[in-house]
């Protein structure tokens, strides 16, 4: 059957152009979904540059159909007849595709792009065909390969072809295809080779042996990719934990305020991002992509202001009574949550990834590193560096350290402790706001956002050693990686429980955290 299938299609291919001369767009518009699928398959096997506008219109949802089932393409907000110039009958409706058609359309697009001038476009198309090429495209691929001049595209095409050649009647061609596939790290190639190794699937012993070797090679590469992926997701989780916890490392770690409202500072930062996004949408739609950058200072200032206001009005009265700060800040957090709920609604709000934070970079066939996560890792390191510089290289930092180590002594030395407290709390809150901007790019933005991070944040700070910036960094990445190593083995829930148990045990061993200063214990 598989051998006959392409033959039948090429027969259809022979017959179809006659009908489609009348207007492919109209044909497509008038067709049933099943027929539409056939058309797309046919187009994929017989690329034709003149069809490109139609495909693009389909892909971007710009094809509309009027009452007489004629096709119109939307250009700059106007409907233009795809063929001829008859005006639309009634209000044309947009032609909607389903997933199956979208998949076929993508394949058709790829075969059309093989005709493109630019080698990069052809390369991308060839890569896409590696996944989706259908038997009907065998001759097309052969022809493309024969005329292709660019080496990279040739390689990609050869691979796409190899996938199809696995079903070739000639054992030599099959052998070549099997060997070629062994050079890749494609998860799909693995499935195809495994199918080949099924009993009775492949009669030729040489091909079988070659398939076994190739399969082993692919598995090795896949495993490498998987491990790399695990390490990356660990780092990414770590960077998120770090951003969530960094502000707390200052308000709790340095100032000693058990800041239960820390999560709400993250939440406010995320909402600040949302507001900035709204403003950009309304007033600078052309620069919308840059809104996360603009959100950084806004979120920092907004949360820092809120933080300083809280410090001046509430927390100021509670220094030296750490456990009472817990209660007051808990009250603050309740109020902030409900305030946001009243202002913005209880539902999540939409914070979209701009284009440069969407998608990912394909490192290996089975490893995509999403841009938002890459950027967040870099951002986390940047914020850590910034915080470190602020605390260790500026006058403010010196004052903060002085006040946190000995409030009275610092006051005697002329350090304005009140101002320093306020600024330090503002700094911690502002950094939490920055964390909120980052969190808005990977998860929910809703009133409860902060609640889901508060426990993890405290664990990171405590595990790292209170007051130890480096400890927090190490603890965050350690927790992230440990979590991601455990998750595939025992599942997300048990993994998390195990991590918590390990933390509890670890704190038994080192009650002051990873980076505790050893010294004469003062009473």
């Amino acid at each position: 059957m598989p051998a006959i299938y392409p033959f039948l299609l090429s027969l259809a291919l022979f017959l179809l152009p006659l009908t489609s001369e009348a207007g492919e767009a109209a044909d497509f518009a008038a067709a049933s979904p099943a027929r539409q699928a056939q058309l797309l398959e046919h187009w994929a096997a017989t690329p034709d540059p003149t069809r490109q506008p139609l495909l693009d219109a389909l892909q971007h949802g710009r094809l509309a159909v009027d009452g007489a089932r004629r096709a119109f393409i939307e250009r700059d907000g106007r409907l233009v007849a795809a063929e001829g110039d008859a005006p639309p009958e009634g209000t044309p409706k947009k032609l909607r595709l389903n997933n199956r058609l979208r998949g076929l359309l993508a394949t058709a697009q790829a075969s059309h792009r093989l005709l493109a001038e630019e080698p990069e476009v052809r390369l991308a198309a060839a890569r896409a065909l590696q996944k989706s090429a259908r038997p009907a495209q065998l001759s097309l691929l052969n022809a493309s390969l024969a005329r292709e001049s660019d080496a990279a595209v040739r390689d990609a095409l050869a691979l796409a072809l190899a996938n199809l050649q696995l079903a070739d009647p000639d054992p030599k061609i099959r052998l070549g295809a099997v060997r070629l596939l062994g050079e890749t790290g494609e998860p799909l190639a693995r499935t195809r080779l495994e199918a080949l190794l099924a009993p009775d699937a492949e009669r030729d012993p040489t091909v079988r042996t070659a398939a076994e070797t190739s399969l082993a090679q692919i598995k090795r590469r896949l495993l490498f990719g998987e491990l790399l992926g695990q390490a990356f997701s660990g780092l990414s989780l770590g960077s998120i934990l770090l951003l969530a916890a960094l502000g707390l490392a200052i308000t709790f770690g340095l100032l000693g305020v058990i800041n239960m409202a820390h999560g709400e500072m993250l939440m406010l930062g995320a909402y600040a991002t949302y507001v900035v996004q709204l403003l950009f949408q309304r007033h600078f739609p052309e620069a919308l992509a840059l809104y996360p950058l603009a959100a950084l200072p806004v979120a920092f200032l907004a949360t820092a202001t809120v933080g300083m206001a809280l410090e001046r009005t509430v927390i100021r009265h509670l220094y030296g009574r750490p456990l009472e700060t817990l209660l007051a800040t808990w009250g603050i957090s309740l109020i902030l949550i409900q305030l946001v709920r009243v202002l913005f609604g209880a539902q999540n709000v939409e914070v979209a990834n701009p284009a440069w934070l969407s998608g990912g970079v394909q490192v290996l066939p089975n490893l995509v590193l999403p841009w938002n996560r890459l950027v967040i890792i870099a951002f986390a390191l940047f914020v850590v560096a910034l915080t470190w510089l602020l605390l260790n290289r500026t006058r403010l930092g010196l004052n903060v350290r002085a006040v946190t180590q000995n409030r009275n002594m610092a006051a005697c030395c002329g350090v304005p402790t009140g101002r320093v407290d306020m600024l330090a709390f503002g700094l911690g809150s502002g950094i939490a706001g920055l964390g909120g901007v980052a969190l808005s790019q990977i998860g929910n933005v809703g009133p409860d956002l902060g609640q889901s991070y508060i426990i993890d944040s405290f664990l990171v700070v405590v595990l790292g050693g209170v007051g130890q910036l480096a400890g927090s960094v190490l603890a965050a990445f350690g927790l992230g990686v440990a979590n991601k190593i455990l998750e595939p083995q025992i599942g997300a829930v048990l993994g998390k429980i195990l991590i918590l148990a390990l933390i509890i045990l670890f704190i038994q061993k080192r009650p002051q955290g990873l980076f505790a200063l050893k010294g004469r214990v003062l009473d």
């Binding site: 997933n99 998949g103 997701s233 209880a346 939409e350 929910n444 991601k484």
Partner: protein, 421 residues
């Protein structure tokens, strides 16, 4: 000084209390109805809009002269996403406020928590959310979907040529009873359709799970083995990180479609839907359904949201549980008119076979025996504008099977409501 300020606080709160009291006394010749939805805590995200929808519907009924000549008076309480508090508030509504009926609950556990109270006091609860079935209480009317009105048609669609002819299924859910039951039913259904055990993967994540890197990587790996579809019963909050990860890791709907049973228009408001076009949801109603009843319903809701100054009113959307709330309240009102009283036993009788022209475009019937609505099933694809376009729907409303035939032991369960146990 401190004491004086405390006294002030007490006088203040006392006067506020007095205000509250006078407000309740004022309305005498009314029928009280309870609204039991969380307005704070984790579930506020979903339930707040149901409270508003209930208030709108009650306003609408009152504007038409009320029920049996009496105005409806809503009593709103906040069980704060706290399950014991649900039971407490339910008892309060029934015994202290003496409401005729309660509209409320979202999660299964909240329903399970109030169920004994309603059975003990013979109250009436309208539950508007799709759920796992396996329950049939005489004191509850279920206006959301049972599994056979949502999950099974959705999977049938995925297996069809149109839906992408999926051969492998990744059942992903939050670890609680609704996903577990649904997946149990789906697994039995898939096996009966000849899908092999190795082609079904079942994974659960904890509540509020926000890191889907590993799971999306696993889906990718699983999908390499053949045409795969993901059936997601992930609970509200975790959906955003899940879909964002999915999009950013480059898994699009043409490759691996995700069909969700808990993601509707309201949830999509919090997500940028451009990368999600083509993913699916199965419901009994979508806002995009094109019919006059629905246009009026959506218009009314938008106007209400604007008039009441609800947050984000300009982006107000309707969804399936909101429609179910709307239908439920109307059906109850009709039944009270028919029975001529709000007495629970008589209203229950009057509800059987009650019909209502719903915004879904169908005339829905309350089943004569099993307390569930006959509902149409629709599969919608996510669109760029955060709406769904219906790609498939059943011929007409289908009857609910609260006791799924795919769960062993259910054959012997009666098809009518009896007190549990």
């Amino acid at each position: 000084m401190q004491r004086r300020s405390l006294i002030k606080a007490f006088t203040l709160s006392a006067s506020i209390a007095a205000m509250g009291l006078s407000w309740t006394i004022q309305a005498a010749e009314t029928i009280k109805v309870g609204i039991l939805h969380s307005l704070s805590g984790t579930m506020a995200i979903s339930e707040t809009s149901l409270k508003d929808m209930a208030l709108m519907t009650i306003e609408e009924i009152n504007a038409k002269g009320g029920v049996n000549g009496k105005q409806l008076e809503p009593v709103v309480v906040d069980p704060a996403s706290n399950w014991p508090l649900f039971a407490e508030k339910a008892r309060q509504l029934l015994t202290q406020d003496k409401v005729a009926v309660v509209f409320g609950c979202w999660t299964s556990v909240s329903r399970k928590s109030v169920l004994p109270v309603f059975e003990e006091l013979n109250g009436l609860l309208f539950y508007p959310v799709q759920y796992e079935g396996e329950e049939l209480s005489p004191n509850v009317f279920y206006t959301g979907a049972a599994p056979n009105q949502q999950a099974i048609p959705a999977v049938e669609y995925l297996m069809s040529e149109e839906g992408g002819a999926a051969k492998r299924f990744f059942l992903l859910g939050t670890d609680y009873v609704y996903p577990r039951t649904t997946n149990k039913i789906l697994r039995a259904f898939l096996l009966s359709k000849g899908v092999a055990e190795k082609d079904i993967e079942e994974v659960y994540t904890p509540f509020g799970h926000s890191d889907y890197q590993t799971i999306v990587a696993n889906i990718k790996k699983f999908a390499a083995g053949g045409k795969t579809a993901v059936v997601s019963t992930i609970n509200g909050d975790s959906n955003v990180p899940f879909y964002k990860e999915l999009a950013n890791q480059g898994l699009d709907a043409t490759e691996v479609p995700v069909v969700a049973f808990s993601v509707g228009e309201e949830e999509l408001r919090g997500i940028d839907t451009k990368p999600l076009v083509g993913h699916l949801a199965a419901w009994n109603y979508f806002q995009s359904v094109d019919n006059p009843v629905n246009s009026e319903f959506v218009e009314k809701w938008k106007a209400y949201a604007k008039a009441k100054g609800l947050p984000n009113a300009d982006k107000a959307v309707t969804n399936d549980p909101m429609e179910a709330t709307y239908v439920g309240i109307h059906m109850w009102a009709q039944a009270v008119e028919k029975a001529g009283t709000t007495e629970v036993d008589k209203v229950r009788e009057a509800l059987a076979g009650q019909t209502f022209a719903a915004p879904s475009g169908y005339t829905l019937t309350m089943d004569a025996t099993n307390h569930h609505l006959h509902k149409p099933v629709m599969i919608g694809e996510v669109q760029e504008d955060g709406q769904f376009s219906v790609v498939w729907q059943t011929e007409g409303p289908i009857r609910a099977q609260p006791w799924s035939p795919f769960i062993p032991g259910n054959e012997s369960k009666p098809e009518y409501a009896v007190k549990s146990n």
